[in-house]
């Protein structure tokens, strides 16, 4: 394999100077080699994908390209000219901007102020002119067709609006090269479509994107070129159209990986019903009725606003439903009570692992056993030995990459954190396992492990509910209920086609048009 991108491939932009060119970049953090003689060339007007598993060096490269990290070795050039000195933030921001997964918006300030932070419109007396600032903010957003009230506090923005505001802010600095760091990780299907529409519009206007994503499909949807990093090195750069999916995955992992393709056995008709949800109505108005048997994996699909997450949270007691009952193995759960649901044998992987799934400063062992204090106590006191044993089993079963059970989960990569969340749900040997967007923001290999673990749970005879709009997650299901605007609008048996499911999630019926 070619190691460095000295010979740039022929992009669609032909002979023009690259927007950004990084060569021979090496960066060390202590003993860790984060980038090793790596590089990238992005040509004007293209949308360039940067892919690699967690830890491949993508984030470090972004840090170097945006001037937040100084490379130990190597050079970065914009439009053929050497990059400005690191201290000159304004010069960097005129060349490149990055929309991070982690917001760089200040939630307590208004949208307008966020757009013009530290470059507020000022009068001759040096004081800020708020009305002028608001007008300028409105004009900036209107120019890029972002429809947001600039007077609202930024904390009220949705993830999608926040990204658009950040993109508009970057463009208002004059940057025409924008790095999107996993922009789709927190968006639903419709939001992703809107984002892609916007990316295409902006590209037509000469904006260049570097697009980082774990979702390979998105790369084929939106990108022209793809660069793969692995183990801190540049592996390859190629036009997307010339690289097959297996080849791309192989480049990322260094080996062939296939997602569990459901060794599908139908659920016996006489298997007992473990989970039954009757006439559930959530506070947001979503309605759900379902019955799931032992050994059955049921998917609940739907876009944002379909009510799928609200319904799932009502099932596990995270929120209190307005009406309806949830029965687990014949026992009716107290509405809105997580302890009661846990007691009845419900395990949960919540939607947002950072908010509801983990306590980052605590160790793997403490996180995994959080829901099952009863199983790690001896004479009423927590026994560290029992706790560590249980945690070691999780680490082994789910292939968590960590030095041991005492590592704080904050130090793990996203994929491994999600494994810990799943481990916590599995620690109680649940009768019913509810997974909400279980593979969001997780790399391909971890995804494989996570979905493989689900297959194991179903083999033990538990019922699994997979709530997601991610096709890979839903493929392991025996059947998929599709929700749209708070109602179940369809049910697809195993073996559905991608088109059918996506269309159903968007509220379109392909067969009755």
């Amino acid at each position: 394999m070619n190691v460095a991108p000295q010979v740039p491939p022929d992009g669609p932009a032909g002979e023009r100077r690259p927007v950004v060119e990084a060569v021979h970049v090496t960066k060390r953090f202590g003993s860790t080699l984060a980038l090793s003689d790596a590089g990238i060339v992005v040509r004007p007007g293209e949308t360039h994908a940067l892919v690699g598993r967690n830890g491949a060096g993508k984030s470090t490269l972004v840090g170097v390209l945006t001037g937040l990290l100084a490379p130990d070795d190597g050079a970065v050039a914009f439009d053929g000219r050497p990059a400005p000195p690191l201290g000159d933030r304004d010069a960097w921001r005129r060349r490149v901007a990055c929309v991070y997964q982690k917001s760089t918006i200040i939630p307590t300030l208004t949208v307008a102020e966020n757009l013009f932070l530290h470059r507020h419109a000022r009068g001759r007396d040096g004081l800020i002119r708020w009305s002028r600032l608001r007008r300028e903010a409105e004009r900036t957003l209107a120019e890029w067709s972002v429809e947001v009230d600039v007077r609202q506090p930024a904390s009220t923005l949705s993830v999608e609006q926040r990204q658009f505001v950040e993109i508009a802010r970057a463009l208002s600095f004059g940057a025409r090269f924008i790095i999107l760091d996993e922009p789709t990780a927190q968006l639903d299907g419709a939001g992703i479509n809107r984002l892609f529409t916007r990316i295409r519009d902006l590209r037509a206007q000469g904006v260049t994107f570097l697009f980082i994503s774990h979702h390979l499909q998105e790369i084929y949807d939106i990108c022209d070129q793809v660069t793969v990093f692995r183990d801190a090195r540049h592996i390859l750069t190629s036009p997307v159209a010339e690289l097959s999916r297996p080849a791309l995955v192989a480049a990322m992992t260094g080996e062939d990986v296939t997602l569990p393709r459901a060794d599908h056995r139908p659920v016996p008709a006489d298997a007992p019903v473990l989970l039954s949800v009757r006439d559930l109505v959530t506070a947001s108005g979503a309605e759900l009725t379902l019955a799931a048997r032992s050994g059955e994996v049921v998917g609940i699909a739907g876009g944002g606003g379909s009510g799928k997450v609200e319904a799932a949270e009502a099932i596990v007691g995270l929120t209190r439903p307005v009406g309806g009952t949830v029965t687990v193995r014949g026992r009716t759960l107290r509405p809105g009570s997580v302890p009661d649901a846990l007691d009845a044998g419900v395990g949960l992987v919540p939607q947002d692992r950072h908010r509801e799934g983990l306590v980052p400063a605590l160790s793997i062992a403490e996180n995994v056993t959080m829901t099952v204090p009863g199983r790690v106590t001896r004479h009423g006191l927590i026994s560290p030995a029992r706790r560590d044993t249980l945690a070691r089993r999780t680490i082994a079963d789910l292939a968590v990459k960590a030095a041991g059970p005492h590592v704080p989960v904050a130090e793990l990569s996203g994929g491994n954190q999600q494994k810990v969340v799943l481990g916590r749900a599995l620690a109680s040997d649940p009768t019913v396992l509810v997974l909400i967007t279980p593979t969001a923001g997780v790399d391909v290999r971890s995804k494989q492990t996570l979905l493989g673990a689900v297959a194991e749970v179903r083999r033990r005879g538990a019922t699994v509910l997979v709530v997601s709009d991610e096709l890979d997650d839903l493929r392991i299901c025996d059947r998929v209920l599709v929700m749209f605007q708070g109602r179940v609008v369809g049910e697809l048996a195993h073996g559905w086609s991608d088109n059918d499911l996506v269309a159903a999630m968007e509220g379109v019926d392909l067969h009755h048009v």
């Binding site: 760089t104 530290h118 120019e143 429809e147 999608e160």
Partner: protein, 346 residues
């Protein structure tokens, strides 16, 4: 299509965006500054019913003067809180700064051996402000440069500085202060005590600086999201450092005012005041998590607190119950501001 500013033209069609938040929440956010005004009016009415004296100009000046020194400390704490930090040591600076000035200028012959008489009296005021700045700078060294937790650092500083004042004063009260130290706290301008003018002017300046200058907005940005502020080109460390120094100087100035008013510096000056300062700031809508609140809000917080205390005094509540009532007032004021502000204080 509308006119464009840059070479690129706007995209032709906007994808449908999610619905905007309700206008009601926006209106609430903008009215937040005025959240305590109804409560202040209500207390004024109650006070007037309790005793018609309450609304007399003498009593209003009395309330404003009694709060003027603490109010300046509240202003100092507000600046630090908005930047996302805490400074507990302000109450000790409040006592120590005039204490050191008195120590250096007072003639021991007049005060039974207290003081050194090293400097002429004219130096007292610069010394007060310098001590405040040095304390702030040292806090900044520990919090900003060494990255220590602000709460613990300033708690340690609170105890150290209090001990320092007790040490240099031998636990006694400095008196026979030079005239330069007593002037501001005891004089009147246009029939109103100078300390009221000073505190009102400082609050006015605070409103302008925090609301209308880039430096002031930088405090909000840092308190709201330090990384984002740094990414926006704000020198976060420098701004924090300056905020801590300014807070120290303001607390020292407040101490100077009260020393001038009492013509003395007791070794316990400011002892325990920090709780009232925090309470006033939080009641006024300043968030302990940083990034939220306003100088005007903080002012209404102090005003509400001291008006309630004044009403209780006018109602003839015995002095033994003062502490109990002060605490109760803080809790009640929090509840009142929660109800009128419509949102939980954090």
């Amino acid at each position: 299509m509308s006119e464009t500013l840059s070479a690129a033209s706007p995209p032709s069609a906007a994808p449908p965006a999610p619905p905007p938040p309700s206008p009601r929440s926006l209106a609430l956010a903008r009215l937040r500054d005025l959240a305590l005004v109804p409560a202040i009016v209500a207390v004024a009415i109650v006070g007037w019913i309790v005793s018609p004296v309450f609304l007399s100009s003498d009593n209003i000046i009395n309330v404003l003067q009694s709060m003027s020194e603490i109010a300046i400390v509240v202003l100092a704490e507000t600046i630090v809180l908005i930047a996302g930090k805490m400074d507990l040591s302000l109450e000790s600076t409040f006592g120590l700064a005039p204490g050191v000035a008195a120590w250096l200028t007072v003639d021991p012959a007049l005060t039974r051996g207290l003081g050194l008489d090293l400097l002429p009296g004219a130096w007292a005021v610069p010394v007060v402000l310098l001590v405040g700045a040095l304390v702030g700078a040292f806090n900044g060294l520990l919090i900003v440069r060494f990255g220590l937790n602000g709460f613990i650092v300033t708690l340690g500083m609170l105890i150290v500085l209090r001990g320092l004042l007790t040490g240099i004063s031998g636990g006694q009260t400095f008196f026979a202060l030079p005239e330069s130290m007593t002037y501001l706290g005891s004089t009147s301008w246009l029939g109103v005590p100078a300390s009221i003018w000073v505190s009102l002017l400082l609050f006015a300046a605070g409103i302008v600086v925090l609301g209308f200058t880039r430096a002031g907005r930088a405090l909000y940005a840092i308190g709201g999201n330090t990384d984002a502020a740094r990414a926006a080109g704000i020198r976060t460390d420098r701004v924090l450092w300056i905020a801590l120094v300014v807070a120290g100087v303001l607390a020292a100035l407040a101490g100077l005012l009260i020393s001038g008013r009492l013509a003395a510096v007791p070794s316990a000056q400011g002892d325990g005041a920090i709780f009232q300062v925090f309470a006033a700031a939080v009641i006024g809508g300043v968030s302990l998590n940083g990034g939220k609140g306003s100088v005007f809000g903080a002012f209404t917080g102090v005003l509400l607190l001291f008006m309630i205390i004044n009403v209780l005094t006018l109602a003839g509540v015995p002095a033994q119950w003062t502490n109990f009532l002060n605490g109760a007032v803080i809790l009640v004021a929090l509840v009142v501001s929660r109800i009128t502000g419509g949102r939980a204080q954090t």
